[in-house]
C-alpha cells in the first residue's frame, strides 16, 4: 500500500492559474470567515428578538417564538440550504426571482448561505437567550419594573445585559458550530474552506494534503475564536456577579 506524499503541492501553481493551492485554501478560509461573521450578525439580532419573545407575558409572542425555533431545528441544515438556494427564488414574484438567479457566481451562493446559516443559528441563539433570561433571579425584572422602567427598558437595561453575559460560553460554542456549518454551503457551490480543499484535491489528486491543510486551518480558527471569547468574557465581566469563570465548570 503506497500513498505518494507531496507536501510541496501547497506551493505549486494551480492549473487554473489562480495562484498556488495555499492561496486556494486561504481564499476558502476567507469565505468561511466572512460567511460565518455575517450570518452571526443576523443570528444574534434575530435570536435576541425571538428569545425575548419567548420570555414575555404575551401568549401569542411565545407561540410564534416556539414555532420559529421548532421550524428551524427540525429540518436538516442541508435541506434548508437547498430551500434557500433552489426553492426560494422560484417562490418569489417572477421579476425578483429572476433578479436573484442572475446574480454573479460567488454572491449567488454567498447570500443564500448567509441567510440560511443566519436563520438556522438564530433559532439556537434564541434558545440560549431564553435560558439566559430564565437564569436571572426573578427579582431583577421586578426591581426594574419598580424603578418605573417600561417593559422594553427592563429588557434593554436590566435583563439582556446580564443574560448575554451568562450565555457567553454557550454562545461561543454556537459560533464555533456556525463556522463548522458554513461547510454545508459547499453543497450549493460556495468554495469555502472544505470546498476549496475538495477542489484542490480534485485538481492535484493529493487527497490527504488538501484535507490536512483544511483541518489545520479549522483548528487554527477554533483556537482564535476561543481565545477571543475568553478575552471578551474577562472584558465584560461584572465584578462580584457570578465570580466569572472560576466558579463555573464541574469539579
Amino acid at each position: 500500500m503506497h500513498y505518494n506524499w507531496n507536501w510541496s503541492i501547497f506551493f505549486e501553481m494551480a492549473p487554473d492559474g489562480s495562484g498556488s493551492d495555499l492561496d486556494t485554501l486561504w481564499r476558502g478560509l476567507g469565505w468561511t470567515v466572512s460567511t460565518a461573521l455575517l450570518a452571526w450578525v443576523l443570528a444574534l439580532s434575530l435570536g435576541a428578538i425571538i428569545g425575548v419573545m419567548r420570555t414575555t407575558e404575551s401568549k401569542l409572542a411565545q407561540r410564534i417564538g416556539t414555532c420559529y425555533v421548532e421550524l428551524f431545528r427540525n429540518i436538516p441544515l442541508l435541506v434548508q440550504m437547498f430551500l434557500w438556494y433552489f426553492v426560494l427564488p422560484e417562490l418569489m414574484p417572477q421579476a425578483l426571482g429572476d433578479q436573484i438567479k442572475q446574480m454573479a457566481p460567488p454572491w449567488a451562493m454567498f447570500w443564500p448561505a448567509v441567510f440560511c446559516l443566519g436563520f438556522f443559528t438564530s433559532s439556537r441563539v434564541a434558545e440560549q437567550v431564553r435560558a439566559g433570561i430564565g437564569a436571572l433571579p426573578r427579582g431583577q425584572r421586578m426591581a426594574g419594573t419598580a424603578l418605573g422602567l417600561r417593559p422594553v427598558q427592563v429588557y434593554r437595561y436590566v435583563l439582556l445585559p446580564m443574560a448575554f453575559r451568562i450565555i457567553l460560553p454557550p454562545l461561543t460554542s454556537e459560533f464555533l458550530n456556525l463556522i463548522k456549518n458554513t461547510s454545508i454551503a459547499f453543497t450549493i457551490g460556495l468554495l469555502e474552506l472544505t470546498g476549496s480543499a475538495r477542489s484542490m484535491q480534485e485538481f492535484s489528486f493529493q487527497v490527504f494534503e488538501a484535507f490536512a491543510g483544511a483541518t489545520i486551518l479549522y483548528f487554527f480558527l477554533n483556537m482564535i475564536v476561543q481565545i477571543l471569547a475568553r478575552v471578551l468574557e474577562r472584558r465584560v465581566a461584572v465584578p462580584g456577579f457570578m465570580g466569572s469563570r472560576v466558579n463555573t465548570g464541574g469539579h
Binding site: 500500500m1 500513498y3 421548532e70 421550524l71 431545528r73 427540525n74 429540518i75 436538516p76 441544515l77 442541508l78 435541506v79 434548508q80 437547498f82 430551500l83 433552489f86 426553492v87 422560484e90 417562490l91 464555533l176 463548522k180 456549518n181 458554513t182 461547510s183 454545508i184 459547499f186 453543497t187 474552506l193 472544505t194 480543499a197 475538495r198 484535491q201 487527497v207 490527504f208 484535507f211 483544511a214 483541518t215 479549522y218 483548528f219 477554533n222 464541574g250 469539579h251
Partner: protein, 230 residues
C-alpha cells in the same frame, strides 16, 4: 414557478423515496447510533480515567473531531478508509469500500465524539460514593462501571442521547455529497432528473420536519416521565 405545483411527481416517486431512501437513512442512523454510543462510552471512560495516556488519547480524539465540520470528516474518511482497510488486511492496493460502509464508519466515529461528552456528563452525575461502595463490595473497575455506574448514567442521559440521535438522523442527509441514495439523496436525484426542485425539496423538508418534530416531542414526554419517577 412556471407551471404550478406538481403533486404528481411526489406521489409517483414516494415508493422510491421511502423504500430506497428512508430505509437507507434509518439504517445508517440506527447502526451508527449504536456503534457511536458504544465507542463514545469507551471514550468517556478513557477521558475520566486517571491513566495519563488513555486520558490524553480520549481527549485528543474528542476535541479534535468536535472542532471539524462533519462534511470535512466525511471526505476524510471516504478517502482514508480504503487505505486503512488495506493496511489492516495487508493488501497492497487501497480496498474498494462501498458507500454505505464508508458512511457508517464515518458517522460512527464522528458521533462517538459527541456521545462521549454526553456519557461523560452522565457518569459524572452519579455520586462518587457509589464507586467507593462498589469497590468496598469487592467489585473491580469494570464490574463497578458495568453494573453500577453505566446503567444509571445511561438512564439519566437517555433524553439527551435521544436528542443527539435526532441530530444524527438529520446529519445523515450529508451523505448527499457522496452521491449516496439516502432520503435526501433520493429526493435530489428525482428533483434533478425531473426538474422538480421546488416540489421535491419542500416535500423532503416536510418529511424531515414531521419525523423530527414528533420524535423530539416523544423525547420530551419521556423526560417528563423520568423526572417524576426519580
Amino acid at each position: 414557478m412556471n407551471n404550478g405545483f406538481d403533486w404528481d411527481v411526489i406521489v409517483r416517486t414516494a415508493p422510491y423515496l421511502f423504500r430506497d431512501g428512508m430505509v437507507f437513512t434509518l439504517q445508517l442512523t440506527v447502526l451508527s447510533a449504536v456503534g457511536g454510543l458504544i465507542l463514545g462510552t469507551i471514550l468517556a471512560m478513557m477521558r475520566l480515567s486517571s491513566n495519563r495516556l488513555l486520558n490524553g488519547i480520549g481527549t485528543a480524539y474528542v476535541t479534535g473531531l468536535r472542532a471539524l465540520p462533519l462534511l470535512l470528516v466525511i471526505f476524510w474518511f471516504y478517502f482514508l478508509v480504503p487505505y486503512i482497510g488495506a493496511w489492516v488486511t495487508g493488501a497492497s492496493r487501497p480496498l474498494t469500500v462501498g458507500g454505505f460502509t464508508s458512511a457508517l464508519i464515518t458517522f460512527t466515529l464522528f458521533e462517538a465524539a459527541y456521545y462521549c461528552e454526553i456519557m461523560r456528563a452522565g457518569i459524572q452525575s452519579i455520586a462518587r460514593g457509589q464507586v467507593a461502595a462498589g469497590q468496598a463490595l469487592g467489585l473491580n473497575y469494570f464490574q463497578v462501571m458495568g453494573n453500577v455506574i453505566l446503567p444509571q448514567a445511561f438512564r439519566n442521559m437517555m433524553p439527551v442521547l435521544l436528542t443527539q440521535t435526532i441530530v444524527l438522523f438529520q446529519d445523515t442527509s450529508l451523505v448527499y455529497v457522496l452521491s449516496l441514495t439516502d432520503f435526501m439523496g433520493a429526493a435530489a436525484k428525482v428533483a434533478q432528473r425531473d426538474g422538480r426542485l421546488v416540489e421535491m425539496y419542500l416535500f423532503a423538508a416536510a418529511v424531515y420536519f414531521v419525523i423530527c418534530f414528533v420524535a423530539s416531542r416523544l423525547v420530551r414526554r419521556l423526560q417528563h416521565r423520568m423526572a417524576i419517577i426519580r
